[in-house]
């Protein structure tokens, strides 16, 4: 039954928007992130990124690894459109980040979920408010906020602690609140810059497993990490950077030792 339905659907797709398909090659349709020849030089010193190219498909799970100072965070900031490249092109979800208008940036960012090493929670508010905050900021109708927030807190396993002040939570719990906040607006892409950097191994695993679960639900996930053990056992795509260039990009890759 299901197969039949799928077949029908495929046929229908083939018939109807034929022309559209041709003008838009298949590669770009599946690609959610396209980085072409990007260089980023800060005011001071040598380039933090030096002519990198990277293609990421919708629904992928990608680790970005590399030594300190190799340009991983710079890459994440470019994808957020917090920074602009010195040269080269970046397209994310169809937005050409070099041409995007200032007014469009909020709309673009609503399709991104972002998680940092230091959690960045609002310390004067409780768990529920921290997640609801994200919904208020994007002007979600108030009637929907409660359900959405509750669902997200259940997903990360923090529903029972929704009233706690975030300062009274463990690091792992705080990161799960941050994750719930990043996901509550249903982003297409989750960007995480060293999300387990401040966590013990147990909590690190929990967070990584959560992100894998989120990825299985269809969200594209990009994780910058130094956690060799987790990368090596999760068998995902691994992009390795060194001094501003991508030195390796492997499906089911591993995080190599330096030597």
């Amino acid at each position: 039954m299901a197969d039949e339905k799928n077949n029908e659907k495929n046929k229908a797709e083939e018939k109807a928007p034929r022309r559209k398909r041709r003008t838009k090659p298949r590669v770009t349709q599946d690609e959610i992130i396209t980085i072409e020849n990007v260089t980023k030089t800060y005011q001071t010193g040598s380039p933090a990124l030096n002519g990198i190219s990277l293609h990421i498909k919708r629904g992928e799970f990608v680790f970005i690894v590399g030594d300190s100072g190799s340009g991983k965070s710079t890459l994440i900031k470019l994808l957020l459109r917090e920074l602009e490249p010195t040269s080269g092109n970046i397209t994310v979800m169809g937005y050409n980040l070099g041409r995007i208008r200032h007014r469009q940036i909020p709309k673009f960012r609503r399709k991104l979920g972002i998680v940092f090493q230091d959690f960045r929670l609002l310390k004067d508010r409780n768990v529920y408010e921290n997640v609801a905050f994200a919904q208020r900021v994007v002007q979600t109708p108030p009637g929907k906020i409660r359900n959405n927030v509750t669902a997200m807190l259940s997903l990360v396993g923090l529903a029972p602690k929704y009233k706690n002040k975030v300062t009274q939570l463990s690091g792992g719990e705080q990161q799960r609140v941050a994750l719930a906040r990043a996901l509550v607006n249903k982003p297409d892409i989750l960007l995480a810059d060293e999300p387990t950097g401040n966590l013990d191994p147990g909590n690190s695993w929990e967070i990584m497993k959560l992100m894998e679960q989120i990825n299985e639900r269809g969200t594209t996930v990009i994780v910058v990490t130094h956690n060799r053990e987790i990368v090596n056992s999760m068998r995902k795509r691994v992009v390795t950077m060194n001094q501003g260039v991508i030195v390796e990009d492997m499906e089911e890759g591993i995080y190599r030792d330096d030597d």
């Binding site: 957020l80 007014r103 940036i105 909020p106 709309k107 673009f108 960012r109 609503r110 399709k111 991104l112 972002i114 960045r120 609002l122 905050f133 994200a134 208020r136 900021v137 994007v138 002007q139 109708p141 108030p142 906040r181 607006n185």
Partner: protein, 299 residues
């Protein structure tokens, strides 16, 4: 804008006020002080204007005639002058009436010594009261050109002194108030800047989440407007009470003042004053916060 957005912004605006309490208090205090002074000046000016207007009503031009001018000729001139727009009222006083008045006021029983003679024989006159004292000189030169007129007496000094004093007070108070308003704008923009720096972390997160410029900025502008509103309502309450108390005190203490002028009742000017003050207060709050938000929140 959605209604929930409105409440969110308003709520955040109020929260900002309490987050940096001391700066908020300082700006409210400055605006209150400025607008309090403004209120006082306004009340004083309104009363002064009232005094000037009352005094102007009393300022008159007196016209005397050549010997031999008949009463009919004088009355004809009176009728002609009454037609002019700047003239409010013309009173005719015959020589006989003038003499009677003089006798009763100054001579009393000694008047009998003069017998039937009227020493003020040529003192028939017209008293002209004007609607607009500033047109007094042109009226006077016209009357002087009429051939039956001997002399025109006027009290120009009183009129010009009054309006000069009026202008001076207005100018000085305008200067002081402008200065205070500038200080208020400066303080509000500082308060908002402090608020922004306190909340820079939150603002960064908001931007990552995808908040529009409007959502990020509006709470701070609301904060400024609330400060301006409180800072204008507070001094108006104080001015109202003080004015009431002061006018009651002066009127009861110096009863002889009453023959010169009376204080305006609050109903005569307070409505206008309130309106102007709230507009200024909210304007200060809006511009003060806008300046800072535009400079510090390039989101």
């Amino acid at each position: 804008m959605m209604i929930s957005t409105f409440w969110y912004t308003l709520g955040q605006g109020f929260k900002n006020l309490t987050r940096n309490g001391w700066y908020t208090l300082a700006s409210i205090a400055t605006i209150t002080a400025s607008l309090f002074l403004f209120g006082i000046f306004y009340a004083v000016l309104a009363n002064f204007q009232n005094i000037v207007q009352e005094a102007e009503k009393g300022v008159s031009v007196t016209v005397f005639f050549h010997k031999g001018t008949t009463e009919d000729e004088m009355l004809a001139l009176k009728a002609e002058l009454e037609m002019r727009p700047e003239v409010r009222q013309v009173d005719f006083e015959s020589a006989a009436a003038a003499w009677e008045e003089f006798k009763s006021q100054y001579l009393g029983e000694y008047a009998e010594g003069y017998g039937g003679d009227n020493p003020l024989e040529d003192s028939s006159n017209l008293q002209i009261y004007m609607t607009d004292v500033s047109r007094q000189s042109s009226l006077v030169s016209y009357i002087e050109s009429v051939n039956i007129v001997r002399v025109v007496n006027r009290s120009e000094i009183a009129a010009s002194t009054l309006s000069a004093a009026n202008r001076l007070i207005a100018l000085v108070s305008f200067g002081i108030i402008a200065l205070l308003i500038a200080v208020s704008v400066f303080l509000i923009s500082n308060t908002v800047a402090v608020g922004i720096s306190i909340r820079s972390e939150e603002i960064t997160i908001m931007k990552y989440i995808g908040a529009t410029d409007f959502i990020v900025r509006a709470p701070f502008v609301i904060e400024g407007i609330i400060i301006g509103l409180i800072g204008s309502l507070l001094p108006m309450g104080i001015v109202y009470l003080i004015y009431r108390a002061a006018t009651d005190y002066f009127s009861s203490r110096f009863t002889m003042l009453k023959s010169f002028f009376s204080f305006l009742p609050t109903s005569a000017f307070f409505g206008n004053l309130m309106l102007i003050t709230v507009i200024i207060g909210v304007g200060i709050g809006f511009f003060g916060s806008m300046i800072t938000v535009r400079r510090h929140l390039r989101v």
